[in-house]
């Protein structure tokens, strides 16, 4: 409750200043205008259309990158030999900033959803790989002995023992990657790709529509916040009993 005082106070002070001094500006806007712009954007569905583009590309990239990352991490976690062999290659590729992939993807795919999906996929791949591998490594070695005693084949062991055990931590990793995916998708749109919320934000700023700009910014913030909240809730709901992650 107390935490809400400062933001509300700031917004009120902003509105008050704007009303008293009669704000007329190409760069600033007051909260009521921002809310009006947000309502207008939601009303004519332009914000929703942009949201679908951004979230769609982020989700597709997330599935691609995090999926491949989880599989690679699982294999590396189960086969330490492979993990040690690949270590240097991964350590060299991992620090490359995902945004540096934008020009390469631009060259290959041109503008559009595929550009965004590929960059988001690259950004999600390595965190997912590392976190999955760590999760598999963290399993109790006793499980392995039990699997051997039960004469489980490797696929059986993976499906019956490893995957259920790492599922909570896998979900945490997925939540982290979902946040990254949204950030990277917006970044790609701001820096190059003419679609989605990032582009709407950039366009509003360039064409001196501050109310629209702040409304889109607010919407992106709400989206990220809502996504995180939903995933945290889902996590509690899914893994309420065995949550160890």
């Amino acid at each position: 409750m107390k935490g809400a005082v400062l933001p509300l106070g700031l917004v009120l002070a902003w509105q008050g200043t704007a009303t008293v001094f009669g704000l007329q500006s190409d760069t600033l806007s007051d909260p009521l205008q921002v809310l009006a712009a947000l309502a207008a954007g939601l009303g004519d569905a332009s914000i929703l259309r942009a949201t679908v583009q951004t979230v769609g590309a982020a989700a597709a990239g997330l599935m691609l990158g995090a999926g491949l990352g989880a599989v690679t991490g699982l294999v590396c976690g189960l086969l330490p030999v492979l993990s040690r062999l690949l270590r240097l290659l991964i350590e060299v590729l991992r620090p490359v900033p995902a945004v540096a992939m934008i020009p390469i993807a631009l060259l290959v795919f041109g503008f559009g959803a595929r550009l965004e999906i590929s960059v988001v996929g690259f950004a999600c791949f390595f965190p997912m790989l590392i976190l999955t591998e760590t999760a598999v490594r963290g399993l109790h070695p006793l499980g392995r002995d039990v699997a051997r005693m039960l004469r489980l084949s490797l696929p059986q062991r993976v499906v019956k023992m490893v995957l259920p055990a790492i599922l909570p931590r896998l979900f945490v990793a997925l939540r982290l990657c979902a946040g990254i995916a949204l950030i990277v998708a917006v970044t790609v749109e701001i820096s190059s790709n003419p679609m989605g919320l990032g582009y709407r934000l950039m366009l509003a700023g360039q064409s001196m529509r501050p109310a629209d700009m702040f409304a889109t910014l607010l919407w992106i913030g709400l989206l990220g916040w809502g996504l995180n909240l939903a995933l945290v809730r889902a996590e509690h709901w899914l893994f309420a009993t065995g949550a160890r992650a």
Binding site: K2, P7, V92, A100, V108, S192, M213
Partner: protein, 254 residues
Amino acid sequence: MSARRHLAWGLASLLVLAMAIGLWSWIARAGLVSAVFLPGPERTWAAIVKGLQSGVLVQQTGQTLRRMVLGWGLASVLGIGAGAVIGLSARARVWVLPLLEGIRPLPASAVAPVAIVFLGLSEQMILVLIAFGALWPMLLTTAHGVASRPARLAEVSRCLGLSRTAYLRKIALPGALPDIFGGLRLGLTVALILAVVGEMITAQGGLGTRILLAARSFRAPDIFSGVVVLGLIGLASNAILSLAEAWLLRWRPR
């Protein structure tokens, strides 16, 4: 694992890396992927050498590095300073921290259009963008680290008659250092990303501008050489920070 086996695995891993580069070279030479998209390692290396000899790549790397370090430094000073104040004061944690936690998930790059409106496509805008993005990890880790010092230590320092600044300097900040380093590391990664984003948007020079302009005019070797240098910057900056961390935290029991 013994040192010798460690070395053997390191060499094997290096061999795999070399094989990957060899595969890349083979794919490029066999024409499996069009040379427009994928220059081989040879052409990428040639572009790096050319850039180094003409000095263009050196200058661009310098610009990106300078922005990254300046923005990150600015964020460190502000973030650790504000984080320490918030961490010390229970009142600030109740009233101010929720606002800061609320702003943090906002994608830093989404602030770029706003920064452009106020500062134009300028050097300052890039620095503000980097500082804004890199601020949050440092501020929140510092606040958390300072706030989570054992209460006993605060009591002891009160008995010793330490002032608040002395408590901060002698007890709270050194104790929070492991947390702060986590923030510094994350902040540095963010700083490099935002330096590249800022350079792509503003076209103020630097590696970000280099690779985006190269993409527009289909000069793939120039993109790849820029990406290689960016990867090296990421690798080196992380390694330097790890060394600094190991040295500054050498008192910590392993």
